[in-house]
């Protein structure tokens, strides 16, 4: 079985600022990293492949320099890496992005059956959490989102059971294969590449697929295929904080008030 991990190269957003005039992200000189959630998706894929004796293919849509992301995936042990890169893919919103990713997965599926697609829950730059479900929809597969544990896979019955992490509770759900899964960080601790694997990954081939390979209708990809557009990006004004109780004269009372408030907002639990 082939397992596909979708990984995205993102700017290190802790370092990104918004240009107030142009409303765009100031990306100059900002290093790129693998979207942190995707490192967990990749780890899930690698562990599943170990258990199921499957193969992992990592795919990423992005400019040619997104190759670094895929090289990292190779160092971590994926069997194949494909970069989806074409000027025609540029300026994509989540719909157009999932069209390209879904097309690539379909193509991979023709060569070797794809049983599971893994995505991060969301990215740290776009933050929409739409691409995973988007891919599932385009492919007509089930989607299991916010997964924090793979409970069990029944290859013969072709079913998968996972645990979803929701606010304040967990949910165990089951779906037929093939499936698209989006994972949260709690699912695992990603591995760290060994030096021999890193060195090996430098030698390995990363395939680049452009639209001559994927042959997607250009009206459904890139800027043309993106019905959403950004009208304005801005940093919201932060609401004034709230002083809770009188810490100076009644610290115990203030602490009690604070705990109650946090509890009621579900920010902490007992």
């Amino acid at each position: 079985m082939q397992i596909v991990a979708c990984i995205k190269q993102v700017p290190d957003t802790t370092q990104v600022q918004i240009d107030p005039v142009t409303n765009t992200l100031v990306r100059e000189g900002i290093p790129f990293i693998v979207n942190p959630y995707d490192t967990h998706a990749l780890e899930t894929a690698l562990r599943l492949a170990d258990d199921l004796h499957g193969r992992v293919t990592a795919i990423s849509m992005g400019p040619l320099n997104a190759e670094a992301t895929l090289r990292r995936a190779l160092a971590l042990g994926v069997d194949r890496a494909v970069l989806l890169s074409d000027r025609a893919f540029g300026g994509a919103d989540t719909l157009a992005t999932s069209n390209v990713l879904a097309a690539a997965i379909r193509r991979l599926n023709e060569e070797d059956e794809v049983g599971i697609v893994l995505c991060g829950k969301q990215t740290i730059d776009g933050d929409t959490a739409q691409v995973g479900p988007g891919i599932a929809t385009r492919l007509g597969w089930s989607q299991l989102t916010l997964v924090d544990r793979i409970v069990n896979i029944d290859l013969e019955g072709r079913r998968i059971r996972v645990r979803r992490k929701l606010e304040g509770r967990h949910e165990i759900v089951e779906a037929p294969l093939p499936v698209t899964i989006t994972v949260v960080r709690e699912i695992n601790r990603p591995r760290y590449p060994t030096v021999p694997m890193r060195l090996l990954s430098r030698e390995r081939q990363i395939e680049v697929w452009d639209n001559r390979v994927l042959k997607i209708d250009v009206r459904t990809i890139g800027l043309k295929g993106s019905p959403t557009w950004v009208s304005r990006i801005f940093s919201p004004q932060r609401d004034m904080g709230e002083l809770i109780g009188d810490g100076a004269t009644d610290p115990a009372g203030a602490a009690k008030l604070l705990v109650e408030k946090l509890l009621s907002k579900d920010l902490i639990s007992l």
Partner: protein, 657 residues
């Protein structure tokens, strides 16, 4: 004639056994990787004289003189024992062939030395009975120690027995040279027991010979060459690795060590000094440096058959805890403080072996404590341990005017370091240093947003691949900016810039701020406006990477004395013997869940020295600063505060109101 034949047979057997047993063990050293330890012949020979023959480290401890006596008695009595064997085989050949004016003094020497040795042996037995140095695996072997002491003691007794009898029988014309033997003679009757003593001597000597190579007393043969081959530099840097396809990294099996690592393991005297000095052992961690060395020896012997037949070692070097293995926990518990190496009388190198095993875990197996994943990623992606955006490196510049380093215009690059840049408390130290430098008129500048993490933690944690990347980037940056003179506020940065980057061809003149401040005070460029009295007694804590690893002990103390008017108070363990704060070797970034915390233990020593009056611990390292502040909080002590040397000096420059 019969006696001669029997003795010949006995010595032949013993000699054969000695040779076979010694060869069996020592020849295993050939399975180590090559390493050049033949350079600087003169310095090596000198070290050997000083440490092996001069017993410098041995003598550094109160009881060391006892060993000194035994060691030199042993060497001197080698002559007497050789004579014993030769004349036992060929009765015509003995020292009696020498003229009396030579033999007389020799006999006197043998007599005196034998007595001294006998006394030393008795003292050693008493000491062994009183003080236990047992660890989990070396209890059994303290029996060995008693056995060897008994052997030596019996040899001395037999010596006096033989010569006492000879004198009693009137067969020793030079008895005037033998005061002690003469005394023994008075109790020897007609000397009829001479042959008993002679055989006792023969049997004990031969047993000793056979026992030597299979016990820890192997060190009698290995300690001297081990001192010759010892590393000449302080253990402040690790060798580079070559990253190429097909290479393996670090030590995952015993044959990954170098021959010198293996020789080390045969040189251990099991004196236990390293274990006493080790902060990890002292606080009940899985690590015991003595056991690390012992494990290498046991592992090598356990795998001897496999190695000899060209197979891979079977008994794991790293694995579940055992006599021949090192547990993962032990390997990660080391703070790389170097106290073990500083104390070892036979110059064994513990810490480099631990780092070699870390390298193997990190680089070959990606096996390390969970906390380190973030650290490595942060260092790789954002070039600082916390993962704070590099763009924030200049945030502290809002507190004062900070200029960029410009080659030719600026004298010193002030390398702030990640802690000085991002850690709230250490930022105050950065500002204190900068302010004092300004007052003293020192020309300094910074790299600002371009400054990168030096990579120290990565290297000590065995992530040499990451360190190599970071070092290359920094060396390139320093070269491009034509940096030659650097002020470092952090001993770890200092050590890395000064000692590690040299391997990359970058020779920098790096000073620690405490050195520079001491110099500026001496030169009168810093003129204190007041004497610092408000801090109470000031205790100086040695940072391992400043002190043991770089030999800077006096300068910070001088700076403190210059502004407080008094020599700083010392903790019970100080300077070369100082006890680590617990943060070195990347331990700063790891949990410390087992046993007492090292910083809490060290704080205890400081409290003991300072008492309960308001006082100050003065540090010279950002890690020590954090560790002491945390440790004091842990112990709920509010009377002691922690300050950097620069802050103490800055106190003296405050305008008098």
């Amino acid at each position: 004639m019969n006696q001669q034949l029997a003795f010949a047979l006995l010595t032949l057997l013993a000699a054969a056994a000695f040779c076979v047993l010694t060869w069996r063990r020592l020849s295993l050293v050939r399975f180590g990787k090559p390493e050049n330890r033949l350079d600087h012949f003169g310095r090596r020979a000198w070290d050997m004289l000083l440490y092996a023959f001069g017993q410098k480290r041995v003598l550094a401890r109160p009881f060391g003189v006892n060993h000194f006596v035994i060691f030199w008695s042993f060497l001197i009595l080698l002559i007497a024992n050789s004579e014993f064997i030769v004349s036992g085989l060929l009765p015509d050949i003995s020292l009696r062939l020498l003229p009396d004016y030579l033999r007389g003094p020799l006999l006197l020497m043998f007599d005196v030395v034998s007595l001294l040795a006998l006394i030393a042996i008795v003292l050693a037995v008493v000491r062994r009975l009183l003080f236990k140095l047992d660890t989990k695996y070396v209890k059994r072997r303290s029996v060995e120690a008693f056995l060897i002491l008994a052997f030596i003691g019996l040899l001395m007794v037999a010596y006096f027995g033989i010569h006492g009898s000879e004198i009693a029988r009137g067969q020793e014309p030079l008895k005037g040279w033998m005061p002690i033997s003469s005394l023994v003679a008075q109790f020897s009757g007609d000397g009829a027991y001479e042959s008993w003593f002679w055989w006792l001597h023969a049997v004990v000597l031969c047993s000793f010979l056979v026992f030597l190579p299979i016990s820890k007393h192997m060190h009698i043969m290995t300690a001297i060459p081990n001192s010759f081959f010892a590393r000449l530099e302080k253990p402040n840097t690790q060798p580079r690795e070559e990253f190429a396809a097909g290479n393996t990294y670090g030590a995952g099996k015993v044959s990954d060590f170098t021959w010198k690592d293996l020789l080390d393991s045969f040189s251990c005297t099991e004196c236990g000094r390293c274990q006493e000095a080790c902060p990890a052992t002292a606080t009940n961690k899985a690590l015991n440096p003595r056991q690390v060395i012992h494990s290498v020896k046991m592992n090598l012997m356990a795998n001897a058959a496999a190695l000899e037949s060209g197979q891979e070692p079977q008994v794991p070097l790293i694995g579940p805890e055992g006599e021949a293995t090192n547990s993962i926990e032990a390997i990660w518990a080391c703070t790389t403080c170097g106290a073990c190496m500083e104390s070892c009388p036979v110059l064994i190198e513990h810490m480099p072996k631990i780092i070699k095993m870390r390298r193997n875990l990190v680089e070959m197996k990606s096996e390390f404590p969970d906390e380190l994943l973030n650290l490595f990623e942060n260092m790789e992606q954002r070039s600082n341990p916390w993962g704070i955006a590099p763009t924030e490196r200049t945030k502290w510049h809002t507190t004062m005017e900070v200029k960029d380093y410009v080659a030719g215009e600026t004298e010193y690059l002030f390398y702030i370091g990640c802690a000085g840049t991002f850690d709230a408390r250490q930022k105050a130290v950065t500002v204190a240093i900068a302010t004092v430098l300004n007052i003293a008129g020192v020309s300094w500048g910074v790299l600002g947003k371009e400054e990168k993490c030096c990579g120290d933690s990565a290297r000590r944690l065995g992530n040499e691949f990451l360190f190599d990347q970071m070092a290359r980037e920094n060396v390139e940056l320093f070269t491009a900016r034509k940096v030659t003179k650097v002020i470092a506020a952090c001993p770890h940065c200092l050590n890395t810039l000064k000692n590690d980057y040299r391997q990359y061809g970058l020779e920098l003149e790096v000073v620690h701020h405490s050195e520079l401040l001491a110099r500026l005070l001496t030169e009168g460029k810093i003129k204190p406006t007041r004497q610092v009295t408000a801090l109470g007694q000031v205790l100086y804590h040695d940072s391992c990477y400043l002190g043991r690893h770089n030999g800077i002990y006096d300068e910070p103390r001088r700076a403190i004395a210059a502004v407080t008017g008094a020599k700083p108070v010392e903790a019970a363990r100080n300077r070369e013997n100082a006890f680590c704060c617990g943060a070195g070797g990347g331990r700063m970034w790891m949990e410390e869940g087992v046993g007492e915390r090292i910083n809490v233990a060290r704080v205890g020593e400081a409290i003991e020295a300072l008492g309960t009056d308001p006082s100050t611990v003065c540090v010279a390292c950002p890690y020590c600063l954090t560790m002491f502040e945390d440790g004091l909080k842990d112990r709920d002590v509010a009377t002691i505060r922690v300050m950097d040397v620069a802050e103490v000096v800055a106190e003296s420059l405050r305008p008098v109101l």
